[in-house]
């Protein structure tokens, strides 16, 4: 069976009020996703650091629009997923975020 159409699932993250600016939360999808609130805008990236699979949401550190891995201090731009400091070299996957009825959702392809 083949299909050319990707289906998209909305996975609920939390209520808008539950993720304050400057914070990050983890969605336990496979693989997990990190969802950030940067100055009131929501962004989502892969949760695992591309260097050594630590959870960015659980152990990371947000500063200047970047998420820094808690294990070895690799940094990524939250908006683009791009690497901004070693030891990571691969960018983080990005996910679309939607706000519907005062709740935050990530868009996951399946």
């Amino acid at each position: 069976m083949t299909t050319t159409e990707k289906s998209e699932n909305l996975v609920r993250v939390c209520a808008v009020g539950e993720l304050a600016p400057g914070n990050v939360t983890r969605v336990n999808t496979q693989p997990p996703i990190a969802v950030y609130n940067i100055d009131g805008e929501f962004y989502a990236t892969a949760d695992w650091c591309s260097h050594d699979k630590s959870s960015l949401a659980d152990e990371g550190f947000i500063e200047d629009g970047q998420i820094e891995c808690g294990w070895h201090f690799a940094k990524f731009c939250i908006k683009t997923g791009a690497v901004t400091a070693p030891p990571a070299s691969a960018p983080l996957a990005k996910y679309a975020v939607q706000v519907v009825d005062d709740a935050v959702y990530v868009v996951v392809e399946s």
Binding site: E59, F61, E68, G70, W71, H72, F73, P86, P87, S89
Partner: protein, 415 residues
Amino acid sequence: MTETYAVVGASLAGARAVEALRAEGFDGRVVLIGAEYHLPYDRPPLSKDVILGQKQPGETLIHPARFYSDNDIELLLGVRATHIDTHSRTVELGSGASLRVDKLLLCTGTAPRRPDIPGLDLDGVHFLRTVDDSVAIRDRLREGGSVVVVGGGLIGMELAAAAVALGNDVTVLERDAGVLRRVLGTRIGDRLSRWHSERGVRIRTDAEVARIEGDHRVRRVHTADGFVADADLVVVGIGVVPALDMVRDCGIEIDNGIVVDEFCETSVPGVYAAGDVAHHPDQLAGQHIRLEHWQNAQNQGIAAARAMTRRREPYREVPWFWSDQGDTNIQVAGHPRSTDEQVWRGDPESLDFTVFYLRNGVLVGVVGVNRRRDVRMAMPLIDKQVRPEPALLADPSVDIRSVGDGAATARSPQR
């Protein structure tokens, strides 16, 4: 004419340096020379993940093989650089060949310190520095048996935790009155010592190793006070010494390591050094220091490469390292000393605390056990040399980031 920049040491520092040379736009010839046959790899997993079989050696590479071809970096692996002629700018190689360079970066690192005792050459006696060492120890541990670890420092205790988790009978012989005391102080060292003991690691302190005995392979280790530990495997982890053989007698200043300035340049213009071997000025310590840390290898390698490409920025970092002993994570930043005033956040009896080190009121260091974030948040404060109120540091309800700017106010303890 095309310039040639060579990096000696296919290590973390060397691999990050060649990456940075290309990232900075250097388009000449880049040659990376390494004594081992392996592509540059990360060493932290060698005393834990690789030993436990959680990582294969190939998973520890800093860059995949194609990175070097994609970036036109020439690899000379399995080749030892033996001498530098600073006048003719030539690096002599163990193969008999030599390489004329325009600029040179030395990341020669360190080698395990060898104790002056009989029996080191017996089969089954290992040091732990290279990936080959790690794989050999891993394979021996799978056979099971009695393991003696000589030296209760970070590497020795990481290895002890891994070996006991694999079901081996593990004895640590430590010369001091307690393991981990030199690096973490008496109180934290002793708390972690208990953690290891509870997992079955036998720790013998005040134990000076006198000799290692065996027949066709190692059998036992004798201490100076007459204690004998049976051994199928001995791992010696008593520290490292800078690898300076190739830089002796070539005019480059040596003092503890290769002496460099804040731009990672040695006393010979155009010759740089970075990583474990570099004796470099540390602004916070106010003196030259040599660091044997992963962070310093990575970031100083990058800083040196940038300086070579004329993006000269002084290297300035708050020293930081970690150790994973089983599932216990230890983080250290700055320059903590046992003589500093120590402020505890969390219960010393727990394995969930942070200790702040104040010298004349200035925050100079931090140690966290299973508290990565506390250590990370304290690092900018150490860099700024703030004078925090000890009560605020000790109060877990106070955001560490706020104690340095004078804005923090002590809240009443939350119940």
